[in-house]
Symmetry: C2
Subunit: 340 residues, 2 copies
């Protein structure tokens, strides 16, 4: 099993042809006699020769690697999202004989990413999130490294793959309104993420389209784990019928708080989330939410990036679908809550 050492040269001399011919037989570029080609391919699989990716890379100025950034902090609830992205990226990459290299990157920590670029370890990058002040994207633009971003960005020239959060939130809100719910409170999270704005936009559009008064849609900016309790208390002093959470971690906190206040969901108040997670599914009652396929996001991102790398044109923005999951937490009882 001395397959560790066999090179293209070995194959060539063994078959009395030149390296060139072997190279061509493998890559399919340039014409090779059918019979010669068959002989070469047979020998190759017989002696399981595998081209040295490093040398190949040196010669073509390519690495056959793509990089993916993952958060360097513990936003625990979000982790399944990135894991699934990663899985999608890996799937697409390995299908194209590419490998995936990870880079832990934060809002302001882009050291690992820089190393990746400076050392030319990758042919392109998938950014798994976008920021309003997007250091990673700026770096990649400046260095002219091909990349795609999962998420949305205002900045022109950035190839984006995203779910249609705005439309999704619009849909979910509209369906709740159709059920008869009129008064909402929307608990937003970190405005540093672009997605926060899209979600808000979808919500307000739905409210406008339904011609509901503006003060029927209370919006609380910049909620975090500490402020949720206070915000829920404020909410409960109003006529709010349904609390919309932008984020799982917020939603979990809200549910905790409601339980502590002895409020029943959905009888006393309804709750929905603009993002899905296994935690919420397991909850009793199950929580109405949006469902996105993170793995598909990763796959699409990687495929798009690979196209860019091979010089193809790609659309600047690709929006993927979603599902509205109506569940118990927003169930309205006929004749009691339904108002039309």
């Amino acid at each position: 099993m001395e397959n560790r050492k066999i090179t293209i040269d070995d194959v060539a001399t063994a078959l009395n042809v030149s390296k060139t011919t072997v190279s061509r037989a493998i890559s399919g570029k340039g014409r090779v006699g059918a019979e010669t080609k068959a002989r070469i391919l047979e020998y190759i699989s017989e002696h399981n020769y595998v081209p040295n990716a490093i040398a190949k890379g040196l010669a073509q100025q390519r690495t056959y690697n793509i990089g993916i950034t993952v958060p360097d902090d513990f936003a625990l609830m979000d982790l399944p999202f990135f894991q699934k992205c990663l899985m999608g990226v890996c799937d697409s990459a390995s299908a194209a004989d590419y490998d995936v290299l990870v880079s832990m990157t934060g809002t302001d920590n882009i050291e690992q990413l820089e190393r990746l670029i400076y050392n030319r370890k990758v042919d392109g990058i998938v950014l798994t999130r976008t920021f309003t002040k997007d250091l990673p994207a700026e770096l990649l633009l400046e260095k002219k490294v091909p990349f795609v971003a999962i998420g949305s960005s205002r900045q022109p020239g950035i190839i984006q793959i995203d779910n249609d959060h705005e439309k999704a939130c619009f849909d979910l809100t509209t369906r709740l309104i159709t059920q008869g719910i009129k008064r909402f409170a929307l608990l937003c999270d970190n405005p540093a993420y672009m997605v926060t704005k899209s979600r808000m936009q979808g919500f307000t559009s739905a409210m406008e389209e339904a011609k509901l008064p503006e003060d029927y849609g209370l919006i609380f900016d910049n909620c975090n784990e500490d402020s949720v309790d206070y915000i829920v208390d404020r909410t409960l002093k109003t006529d709010v019928e349904c609390i919309l959470c932008m984020d799982d971690s917020i939603c979990v906190k809200v549910l905790d708080k409601l339980k502590r206040n002895n409020l029943e969901v959905p009888d006393d108040i309804k709750v929905a989330s603009f993002y899905n997670s296994s935690v919420l599914e397991r909850n009793i009652p199950s929580i109405t939410s949006l469902s996105f396929d993170a793995k598909e996001l990763g796959k699409t991102a990687a495929n798009t990036l690979l196209k860019m790398i091979s010089g193809e044109n790609v659309p600047e923005r690709t929006l993927l679908g979603y599902e509205v999951m109506m569940r118990e937490s927003t169930r309205t009882i006929l004749g009691k809550d339904v108002r039309r």
Copy 2:
């Protein structure tokens, strides 16, 4: 900013020295005149020259990459563990100017791993888990690729990094016994994982050392999400005081089931887990469990691997610490439950 193209040759000609000298100045290998060296280093940082890692790799038969395997399935509860491992590995790797390449690998799906090896994309591998029938490990042993495994293995010659699960489970069990609890049920999970055996061993050792009758420690093999309900029901027909879960996902199911049966934890029955997770911490009541530092595991694994790659000797087995987290779910009330 034309740093994209500058090579060692450019530096050499610009300074009227040879490539060799420049190379030596950077690597520190071989003697270079102090003044020459200073001049070179200055020029380099001035024009921010970065050596081409690919070329370097070709010349030294090295990639400056390490691979890490992560599960290709959605064992959701466990994901934070792998994420943290990954973070640890990345930390250590980038500190050593190495990058990390991920490979989605399952019990019987080692395609991606094989590609990594055949294409010589990495200098070594970190396996984030071990199996009783360990295909990845076998492959790596056969191909003589340096690797370390996070977890434990019976197979000789495998460098292992693990928490001391056996001792940890022994400790936790002993502390519960000390509290006065005598009758346990241990719900085990997939016996394909080595760690299952270590945990069982720790438990039974503690029971023996406390000289408790063998039938005070009921052991249920191979629990899964579907069988938990049935097993808990069986358990409840006995005098069991405390249910020990090997796994978070099992523990979550157990808690669900107990709640449905209107049993209060810890008053009616006590529950503890042999593994920690944020889910269990958030639970009301909080769950007694063991705490392991997965990131530290990753760091240690990567550091060990890097040593192996550079030819140093490393211990075959490294055991990391743990913490026993006594929480509400096993609280005993003085004068009622305490029997000594």
